[in-house]
């Protein structure tokens, strides 16, 4: 294992003594217990000492992160650019494996089962993902959702058979009323906000247990952002949601728990209000107060 300098020096080149002591990080899982509220469901996803390296870089993109993701809660990952939050998110459904040279240590447990032991296509249907850039396929609205549902079966189900599930998914994503009159329209003709909600519908159509969102609103205007955030509020009843965001206000609005990452390290994990009002680490306080980032 490569020895990494503690993040302290890199964080504050001016030498101010705000420090996340490695010993402090050691005790990180502790606040988890404190944060557990009865309204949360059981733990669905457990990130257990996950480190991710990219070939050719000395420092790991993610360094020994441990986090729980519970049913019915939104976990917001925040931190400055390059802190590894997106990499961590992409590792949860093993999408990070598509990047050449990426390797992961540590375990990710989905309902207690190691994701490495699950078939990858099955894993990605249970843990589905929304991307930063709305990325509908160049097909019709209907086909975008239907494509997600269709299994690789010999006999492909017809349009009529798929319609109820497509409608359910579009309704859950709050898009049905806007597109119901013409589902044959090309998805790329929709507005950016509608496209993103179509992507959410597509991800919901596979009936996932966990929804991963990688800055889902960064390409959207404020109104669309509001719609998507509202949606996140509604969806978390039935799903565990992990959202990566650059937008602190958004993390505060949608997150139940917030994890602050810096240079690959998990600096602090706490219930949202606690992290924003009474951060324990100085680094976190500086970040949430906008001193750097």
């Amino acid at each position: 294992m490569v020895e990494f300098p503690p993040p302290v020096r890199r964080i504050t080149p001016n030498g101010s003594p705000n420090v996340v002591d490695p010993a402090d990080r050691q005790g990180m899982p502790e606040p988890i217990a404190r944060a557990t509220r009865p309204s949360y469901g059981p733990e669905r996803l457990r990130i257990d000492g996950v480190s991710i390296h990219y070939a050719g870089t000395e420092r790991p993109a993610v360094n020994a992160v441990t986090l729980p993701v519970r049913q019915g809660e939104v976990l917001a990952l925040i931190g400055p650019s390059g802190c590894g939050k997106t990499t961590l998110l992409r590792s949860l459904n093993r999408l990070v494996e598509l990047t050449p040279g990426a390797s992961r240590q540590g375990r990710i447990l989905l309902d207690g089962e190691d994701v490495d032991h699950l078939e990858i296509t099955r894993l990605r249907r249970r843990v589905s993902m929304i991307f930063q850039q709305p990325n509908p396929f160049p097909m019709s609205i209907f086909d975008n959702v239907a494509y997600a549902i269709r299994e690789q079966a010999m006999r492909r189900p017809g349009k009529a058979a798929l319609m109820p599930r497509v409608e359910t998914a579009l309704r859950r994503a709050g898009l049905w009323d806007e597109v119901a009159d013409d589902l044959g329209r090309p998805a790329l003709r929709l507005s950016g906000g509608q496209q993103q909600r179509l992507c959410i519908a597509r991800a919901l159509a596979v009936e996932p247990d966990v929804l991963l969102m990688d800055e889902p609103c960064s390409a959207l205007d404020p109104i669309s952002t509001g719609v998507v955030e509202e949606l996140i509020h509604e969806l978390r009843e039935n799903l565990a949601i992990v959202i990566v965001t650059h937008n602190l206000a958004q993390a505060r609005r949608v997150g139940d728990h917030v994890a602050f990452m810096y240079l690959g390290d998990l600096v602090e994990y706490a219930p949202t209000e606690e992290l924003f009002t009474r951060p324990r680490a100085d680094r976190t306080r500086e970040y949430v107060q906008g001193s750097f980032g």
Partner: protein, 329 residues
């Protein structure tokens, strides 16, 4: 000179477009002005060349072409009134295009998919890629003579006919010419497909993988429909090159006046046999060729031109059908 902003501000009388353009041109630097004039001149000249070619061929062609010419078979004869029409070359052209495209299209699209989506083993991918580039750059006469050497091998005796006494394999047939001709179309289909695949953003693939789709499902249901218009463009280009090639026809199809079956089996016999295309017909009938029947050469060239334009329109039409709404199920 007015200092008012060129956009916005209301004016009493808005100047005409022409005046505005001239006013703008006066602000340009002389060298830029010269560049614009030069660019327009060159563009107009090229357009003039293309237009006069089409016009000349059109006038000449319409002068000599007739329905009779299109539907009668060519005959040997000493006088032009006896030599018949161009039915066989038309059929030959269409057959060669069909055979060569049928071979080239799956090969080229498959190769492009493999190069872009898999690319393993890497060294082999590099070899294939540069191999296709070499084919693209090779003169078709060189490809033709190589093809002839191949198809004269005894193991290809089924592809053409052999001398009755068990002698050498003739090596010239629709199968031989079509197969070798596929190499002419392959690079353009490959290149357009590869470029289109490379331009599909990574996040589109990730969206599909993120839904738990396999690589093959992603290729079949997302990538291929996305790049379909580009495949069509490449195919249209390739078909044009096939229809326009003469060297391979002369060497590998025999360039015989009529379709001549290579064996008695119906259908297959024709494929094993020789024939001609419009290009070889034009060559043989042009003043420099053996026939010296420029009227028929013009008519055939005109038909060839129409054929290529028609094919382009057809394929472009297929490709332009939006990938959005008619995704294969």
């Amino acid at each position: 000179m007015s200092t008012a902003p060129t956009t916005g501000g209301p004016r009493a009388t808005p100047p005409g477009r022409r005046q505005r353009l001239l006013g703008e041109l006066r602000l340009w630097r002389p060298l830029d002005l010269l560049g614009v004039v030069a660019a327009w001149t060159v563009g107009a000249l090229l357009l003039l060349v293309a237009a006069s070619l089409l016009l000349y061929m059109g006038i000449k062609g319409l002068q000599y072409v007739s329905l009779d010419l299109l539907i009668t078979r060519p005959q040997p004869g000493a006088d032009q009134s006896e030599t018949g029409g161009i039915l066989d070359p038309i059929l030959g052209t269409l057959m060669i295009i069909a055979i060569a495209t049928a071979i080239a299209l799956p090969l080229a699209v498959g190769a492009a998919l493999w190069i872009v989506e898999y690319s393993r083993p890497r060294w082999l991918a590099r070899v294939v890629e540069s191999g296709i580039e070499v084919i693209a750059g090779a003169p078709s006469i060189a490809i033709a003579i190589f093809g002839l050497a191949i198809f004269q091998l005894p193991i290809f005796s089924w592809a053409s006919f052999s001398a009755a006494d068990g002698g050498g394999v003739f090596g010239r047939s629709f199968i031989a010419a079509g197969s070798v001709m596929s190499l002419i179309a392959l690079p353009s289909i490959f290149a357009t497909t590869r470029e289109a695949l490379q331009s599909v953003p990574r996040h589109v693939r990730e969206a599909s993988y993120g839904l738990g789709k396999t690589k093959w499902a992603t290729i079949r249901r997302v990538l291929l429909p996305t790049v379909k218009p580009d495949i069509a463009t490449g195919t249209a280009l390739g078909m044009g090159r096939i229809a326009g090639d003469t060297a391979i026809i002369v060497l590998l199809l025999g360039a015989t006046l009529q379709l001549q079956a290579g064996s008695g089996i119906p259908g297959v016999g024709t494929l094993q046999g020789t024939g001609s295309t419009l290009t070889s017909y034009v060559y043989n009938n042009s003043p420099t060729g053996e026939g010296n029947a420029p009227e028929k050469a013009y008519a055939a060239a005109f038909v060839l031109m129409l054929l290529i334009i028609g094919l382009n329109l057809l394929v472009a039409g297929i490709g332009r059908r939006r990938a959005g709404t008619d995704l294969p199920r």
